[in-house]
């Protein structure tokens, strides 16, 4: 088991290195010259040269990449400025350290992701379950119809509609802002509510449909019939012989979806003006702020890859059929 985990982590490092290299090539070699971008309007050839030297742009490509990589682990120097590890460079726009930009915004993105995940899991799984049990009834049909509709609504549309109705017209909610929980829990909750709902709707609908079909499949399994023939109580049958088998595969999908969200909910954060990783990504792309784009891409890749490993390990723990038979 330990060997397997170590092997997987080794794989993770290789994948992240590859992602680093590709994003580096794409953003630093294929986009406009960074020195020109930083230099701005009042620019002289001498200044461009000096910027190139400071950023190391006149070095061979591999040396540049190596500098970038070692900066992450050991820090690096830009001329006289020292950037301590983990160094992801400085924003071309604000001159701020990219790492401190990320650490400042990550809590917002995590709050958005965790809140939305809790919401969609509760609504999706419970809704799907009730639909499965009441299969074919009006509840089932309307819930599944609604779910189909919900999946199809783009979340920027939903975000704008909600904002217009709840904030502008009815004025029941404040305009979202990243209030910290410690300062004012009530306002914190109110301001995050809309982003959570907007983000959760699509997933909740997807999970409801998935849960429903998984549960219905499980109810047709022979072992479910066995459980009934054994005279077990309804609650025990439901818990062990319907829910456990039906929900285990959903954990895998959830792990992947959640990891994807940690890298920032681009549209939702932007629409609600929440200063998270997603909004930072959108801003940096708009302004071609290469160090920031690069960092956001790496961060997203990091979450997805780690999420993958966690899901695999979790699955071996949850499904005995893929567990190692210890000798």
């Amino acid at each position: 088991m330990t060997r397997y985990v170590l092997g997987r982590l080794g794989g993770v490092v290789l994948i992240l290195l590859a992602v680093c290299l590709f994003t580096y090539l794409i953003f630093f070699k294929l986009s406009p010259d960074p020195a020109v971008m930083i230099c701005g309007k009042t620019c002289t050839p001498e200044r461009i040269d000096s910027i190139r030297t400071v950023l190391g742009l006149n070095q061979p490509l591999l040396t540049q990449f190596w500098e970038f990589l070692s900066g992450i682990f050991a820090g690096r120097d830009y001329g006289s400025v020292h950037c301590s590890a983990p160094c992801l460079g400085y924003s071309f726009q604000t001159n701020e350290s990219v790492w401190s930009m990320i650490t400042a915004r990550l809590p917002v993105s995590i709050t958005v992701a965790v809140g939305a995940a809790v919401l969609w899991l509760l609504v999706g799984v419970i809704g799907g379950l009730v639909s499965a049990v009441k299969q074919g009834t009006w509840w089932d049909r309307s819930a599944m119809g609604l779910a189909l509709g919900g999946v199809s609504v783009p979340n920027y549309v939903l975000a704008l509609v909600l904002q217009y109705v709840l904030v502008v017209k009815l004025q029941v909610l404040p305009f979202p802002s990243a209030v910290s929980f410690v300062d004012n829990p009530a306002v914190w909750f109110e301001s995050y509510l809309m982003p959570w709902v907007v983000l959760a709707v699509g997933y909740a609908c997807l999970y409801a449909r998935l849960t429903r079909s998984n549960v219905i499949d499980t109810l047709a399994e022979n072992y479910y019939r066995t459980a009934r023939a054994k005279g077990l109580s309804g609650a025990l049958i439901m818990r062990r012989h319907a829910l456990r088998p039906a929900l285990t595969p959903i954990t895998t999908i959830f792990g992947m979806d959640f990891a994807g969200l940690l890298g920032g909910a681009l549209i939702t954060e932007t629409v609600f003006g929440l200063n998270g990783i997603g909004k930072m990504a959108a801003d940096s792309i708009a302004k071609n702020d290469q160090p920031v784009i690069m960092a956001v891409t790496l961060l997203a890749a990091f979450f997805v890859v780690i999420g993958n490993v966690v899901v695999d390990l979790l699955y071996t723990a949850l499904d005995p059929r893929v567990r190692v038979v210890s000798a």
């Binding site: 088991m1 397997y4 695999d312 071996t316 059929r321 893929v322 567990r323 190692v324 038979v325």
Partner: protein
């Protein structure tokens, strides 16, 4: 005349073992198996699950390539045959599978299914597809008026007859039956066995008959090979293997077959 000669055939599969984290290992499904089939005879290969009988059949039909050993058909080594050579082989060797429904395309009509082997070989029947199909359907005991129907509109026994008709469309010299009657009810099973034997008498081709049911094998085979754990443990004429088994596994297998109380059976026959 020896039609099919399987020599020292071994098939290894690479498995990942139990669990996601197990290491790769090789599993020998068929281990140094040799047998011959004469033109016009029926050789049965019997064994329990995991004995390697189906893998052997698949290798003989060139649906799998052996790891070691050779398959010689009609004097030609076809072990690594490809292209035209393989096409000729496919023309001569046909397979009937266990589950008739999953081996017939549900979206094709019976006519299209039965003439498919001809289509692949680029042969057009002299009297036209319709007449050709109807003739074959009649031969296997199906109503020729049903040639425009789809597989789902037939019963299990009828669907298996469609599979047999498809195998016969190219006039094969060898038909490999892989558990061809196992999925059928007893009464239907008896009829299909009857049909298989009649077709052989009419056309003189050979069967390799893969089965786990020894009583069925006893009905249809002239020679029997018994497989256990990838090896042939005994091969001989039907009467040798059933009447005077030499190998201990064959003896166990024969003893395990459930029998209708012989006294009752005899009494019933007398009363008739």
């Amino acid at each position: 005349m020896t039609l099919l000669k399987v020599q020292g055939v071994t098939k290894e599969f690479v498995t990942r073992g139990d669990g996601a984290m197990a290491r790769k290992s090789t599993f020998t499904a068929v281990d140094d198996v040799s047998f011959e089939v004469e033109l016009g005879e029926t050789l049965a290969i019997v064994g329990e699950s995991g004995s390697g009988k189906s893998t052997t059949a698949r290798i003989a039909a060139r649906l799998l390539e052996p790891t070691k050993g050779s398959v010689v058909f009609d004097g030609q080594d076809v072990t690594r045959a490809s292209g035209k050579e393989l096409a000729t082989f496919r023309n001569n060797v046909q397979v009937v599978f266990q589950d008739p429904f999953s081996s017939l395309n549900p979206r094709y009509t019976v006519e299209r299914i039965i003439t498919a082997p001809l289509t692949y070989q680029g042969i057009a029947p002299a009297n036209g597809r319709r007449a050709f199909t109807q003739e074959l359907m009649e031969r296997v005991g199906l109503n020729p008026d049903h040639c425009r129907r789809y597989p789902a509109q037939f019963s299990g026994g009828q669907a298996q007859r469609i599979g047999i008709a498809r195998a016969l469309a190219v006039n094969p010299k060898l038909v490999i039956c892989d558990e061809a009657v196992s999925a059928l009810d007893v009464s239907i099973q008896a009829q299909v066995l009857e049909l298989l034997m009649r077709l052989q008498r009419e056309s003189g081709f050979s069967y390799v008959f893969i089965a786990h049911d020894l009583a069925v094998v006893r009905q249809i085979a002239q020679r029997v090979a018994v497989m256990n754990r990838g090896r042939i443990v005994e091969v001989g004429t039907r009467d040798q293997v059933f009447g005077d088994p030499q190998d201990s596994y064959t003896k166990t297998l024969l003893a395990a077959v459930p029998r209708i109380n012989p006294e009752w059976d005899a009494k019933r026959r007398q009363a008739r």
